[in-house]
Amino acid sequence: MAILVIAEHDNASLKAATLNTVTAAAKIGGEVHVLVAGSDCRAVADAAARVQGVAKVRLADAAHYGDFTAENHAALIVAQVANAASGYTHVLAPSTSHGKNTLPRVAALLDVAQISDIIAVEDADTFVRPIYAGNALATVKSSDATKVITVRTTGFDAAAAEGGSAAVEAIGAAADTGQCTLVGRDIAKSARPELTAAKIIVSGGRGMGSGENYHKVLEPLADKLGAAMGATRAAVDAGFVPNDYQVGQTGKIVAPQLYIAIGISGAIQHLAGMKDSKVIVAINKDPDAPIFQVADYGLVADLFAAVPELVAAI
C-alpha cells in the first residue's frame, strides 16, 4: 500500500500546504510518495525529499506542467495510479486552488468518488469532512479501490520540512493535451505571510467602508503584529481588496493562533472559514452582531477609533 501526495508548489519552492497533506497521508498508513510535477522544479523535488515521513519523490519535469493546468496534471496523475506496479491506494492533494481544480478530474478518470476537504482520518477508508458550511461533520466510508482525497490543511499539523532523505526518481511526462493554455497571471506579491499559513490574521469586512479605509486602518495593525490580512465576501465584492483575501465557506479556510475580525458581522459563510482559529477577537459597533457568539474577546466599539488605539497600545 502506498499513498501519492500531490505537491503544492510554484516551480521554485515547496508550499507549506504539502506538509499538512503529508501528515494526513501518514495517518492513513503506508508508504508516502510525493509527486512533484512542474517545469524546472528540481529544487522543489529536493525540498520534498527532505520532508519527514516521505519515502520517495517522483519528479515529472516538463514545460507543459509549469502552468499547472488540470488537464495535463490530471492525465499525469492518472497514469501514475493506473500503473499497477505503483500500488497507489490513495491520492491526496491539499485543498488549494490547484488541488480543487485537478483532483476531481483525476477521480472521474479513475471512475472513483472524490472525498473533498477532509479534516480527520478514521481509518484507511473512512474520513471526516465538513458539510453545510461546517455546520455538520460527515464521516464517510469509501468503497472505491483508489481513494482520491483533498485535505483541509487546517485539520492536520505540518510535517517537519527537514530530516527526511527520500530518493528522487524522475518519471516520464504524459503528452501535452493542448486543451488549455495559460494566457496570464496576476498574482499579488506581498511581504506579508500567506493567509492560510499565518499565525495572526487581521480581517476586515464591509464595516471598513472603503478600500482606502481598509488599508489605512488595518495595515498598521497587521504590520505591528506581523499578520496576514483577510476579508469578507462583502469587502471583496465591494472592491476593497482582491479576491484572494476572502475567508469563508467559499474562500480560504484559516485557523491561526489569533484572528481579529473588524467590521465583520459574522455570517455563517464567513464563520465557516475562521471559526477554528485558536483565539478570536471581534471589534464591531453592533453589540448583537453574530460574530460575538464565536469571539473569545469582543469589543463593542467604532472601529475607526478602536483600531488606531489598539495599534498604539501594542
Binding site: 488537464e71 489569533l258 474577546y297
Partner: protein, 249 residues
C-alpha cells in the same frame, strides 16, 4: 452555440443547517430550498451570452427529486429557454451527477457547460471538473470573467494569490465564482413566462447511468461548539487579556 447549465436544489443559504438527532444527516424537513447560489450566477452568465448574441440556446438541467422542477422554473424565469430534469429519488453523489450530466451533454451537444463551482450543501466542488474529465473537455474553474470568441473561451479564474487567465478550446466546461456577475431577480412576467417553457423529464436508467453511491455516510455529527467568550470594556482591557490570558502577543 448551445449552453447547458446544471442547477442544484439546495437548502437556502440563509438557513443554518441542523444535524438530525439520530446522526443520519441534516434536517431538511420544512426548510426553505433554493437554487444553489453559484448556479444562479451560472444561469445569469449563460443568459447574458444569449443576450449578447454569442449563445443561441440556454438549457438548464437538474438531477434529483421531482421538486427540482421549481429550481428549473427559476432558471427559466432568469432566462433559460428550456429545461431537463433527470429525476431520481436516490442519493446522487457528485460522480453520479457528473455521469448523468455527461449523458445529457451527449444528447444535447452543447459547446459550453457552465456550472457552479460548489454546491453549498455538500461543499464538494467536484461536479464541473468531473464532467469535463468524462467528456474529455478542457475546464476553467472558479471563473470571474468569461469571453467567448474565435472558437475559444478565455476565462479569468480566481486562484490562490490572485487571478489567472486561461484559453480553452471549445467545447469546454466553466465553473462560476462569486465575482462573475450579479444575477438578476426574476420578474413576475418572466416567472409567468417560465411556466410555459418546456421541461422534459428523463430517468437515470433511460440514460444508462449507474448512480450507485460510492461513499456511505457512517454518521453526521455537530461540530464542536465554540462558546462565546467575554466582552471587554475597552482597548486597554483587550490588550491586557490578549497578553496575559490568551498569551497571543
Amino acid at each position: 452555440m448551445k449552453v447547458l447549465v446544471p442547477v442544484k436544489r439546495v437548502m437556502d443559504y440563509n438557513v443554518k443547517a441542523r444535524v438530525k438527532s439520530d446522526g443520519t444527516g441534516v434536517d431538511l424537513a420544512n426548510v426553505k430550498m433554493s437554487m444553489n447560489p453559484f448556479d444562479e450566477i451560472a444561469v445569469e452568465e449563460a443568459v447574458r451570452l444569449k443576450e449578447a448574441g454569442t449563445a443561441t440556446e440556454v438549457v438548464a438541467v437538474s438531477c434529483g427529486v421531482a421538486a427540482c422542477q421549481e429550481t428549473l422554473r427559476t432558471a427559466m424565469a432568469i432566462g433559460a429557454d428550456r429545461a431537463v430534469l433527470v429525476e431520481s429519488d436516490a442519493e446522487l453523489q457528485p460522480l453520479a451527477v457528473a455521469k448523468l450530466l455527461k449523458a445529457v451533454a451527449d444528447k444535447e451537444s452543447p459547446q459550453l457547460v457552465i456550472l457552479g463551482k460548489q454546491a453549498i450543501d455538500d461543499d464538494s466542488n467536484q461536479v464541473g471538473q468531473m464532467l469535463a474529465a468524462l467528456l474529455g473537455w478542457p475546464q476553467a474553474t472558479f471563473a470571474s470573467k468569461v469571453v467567448i470568441a474565435d472558437g475559444k473561451a478565455t476565462v479569468t479564474r480566481e486562484v490562490d494569490g490572485g487571478l489567472e487567465t486561461v484559453a480553452l478550446t471549445l467545447p469546454a466546461v466553466v465553473t462560476t465564482d462569486l465575482r462573475l456577475n450579479e444575477p438578476r431577480y426574476a420578474t413576475l412576467p418572466n416567472i409567468m413566462k417560465a411556466k410555459k417553457k418546456t421541461l422534459d423529464t428523463l430517468k437515470p436508467d433511460a440514460l444508462g447511468v449507474d448512480v450507485s453511491p460510492r461513499l456511505t455516510t457512517v454518521r453526521v455529527s455537530e461540530p464542536p461548539k465554540r462558546s462565546a467568550g467575554i466582552k471587554v470594556a475597552d482597548v486597554a482591557q483587550l490588550v491586557d487579556k490578549l497578553k496575559n490570558e490568551a498569551k497571543v502577543f
